[in-house]
């Protein structure tokens, strides 16, 4: 019996290492998307407000532990980060921890990708992770 418990404990200890998402649950019908810009949009000057769409969940500032909520992260010119770690904070991963639902973006001329990733109070993606389609926009040369 003791042996059984030990094996069970070990298995449980192994599970977090296998996690592919954070601990905060998200409903299956949760969805984030870009209200604007749309995929393929050309943006003269490269300065714009990106509007974040969110269905079936709510926004809360970073640090607020409340089920069914989280805050937006805008991923610029990068792939999705690992889902079982805190989302990095750098120029490619912009955090909106004050509870913003849109963000001012300034990009140089060229082709850029944008993707939204929602995350919980501790900046960990939900389980299952809630992220948008990756869109491409074009900033024409001046």
């Amino acid at each position: 019996m003791n042996k059984f418990f030990m094996v069970a404990t070990m298995l449980v200890a192994l599970i977090p290492g296998l996690a592919i998402a954070g601990d905060s649950p998200a409903p299956d019908n949760a969805r984030v998307y870009f209200l604007w810009p749309k995929n393929g949009t050309t943006i003269k000057g490269g300065k714009f407000w990106a509007r974040f769409g969110l269905q079936n969940m709510g926004v809360a500032p970073a640090g607020v532990v409340k089920s069914g909520t989280g805050h937006h992260h805008l991923i610029i010119d990068a792939d999705l980060p690992s889902f079982d770690e805190e989302i990095p904070a750098d120029r490619n991963h912009v955090h909106y921890g004050k509870g913003y639902s849109e963000g001012r973006v300034e990009l140089p001329p060229g082709r850029h990708t944008l993707q939204l990733l929602f995350a919980d109070h501790g900046h960990f993606p939900h389980n299952p992770p809630v992220y948008s389609e990756k869109i491409t926009i074009l900033v024409p040369a001046e």
Partner: protein
């Protein structure tokens, strides 16, 4: 002494009655608007999305007392309520206390007005109040 207490209570009552907004400060550059639908939009379905635009402030669920945040209220076919009181909760004043930033609403065919009003953790508008322009839409 009883009289003094009564006059203090009365004075407090008068002061709160004179208030024109709640106690939670909002930055002057806070900007609330209806990002969809547009003013004058003709909508060919009686069930449609309304997206809440908010700049320079953040969204927080009801009960979360965090400066420079609030939650959305959508006012349908009604004038603005008093700015120094809790926003009523009825079919003309829809609360989004879970921190939602958009909704779907169902409206009868006809002309309707929509307006957003942000309020603090207590459902009281900020000071100064953060209000969107009132838009008019037609549901066909």
């Amino acid at each position: 002494m009883k009289m003094l207490k009564a006059s203090i209570a009365l004075a407090a009552l008068i002061i709160s009655g004179a208030a024109v907004a709640g106690d939670s400060p909002a930055p002057k550059k806070a900007y609330l608007y209806i990002g969809w639908p547009n003013d004058g939009e003709v909508i060919r379905s009686n069930n449609f999305k309304v997206w809440f635009g908010l700049r320079n402030m953040g969204v927080a669920p009801t009960g979360v007392d965090k400066p420079l945040t609030g939650h959305h209220h959508l006012i349908v076919d009604a004038p603005l309520p008093p700015m120094d009181q809790e926003i009523p909760a009825d079919r003309n004043h829809l609360h989004f206390g879970k921190g939602q930033t958009e909704t779907r609403i169902t409206l009868e065919p006809g002309t309707h007005t929509l307006q957003l009003l942000l309020a603090d953790y207590n459902h009281v508008p900020h000071n100064p109040p953060v209000v969107s322009r009132k838009i008019t839409i037609t549901v066909k």
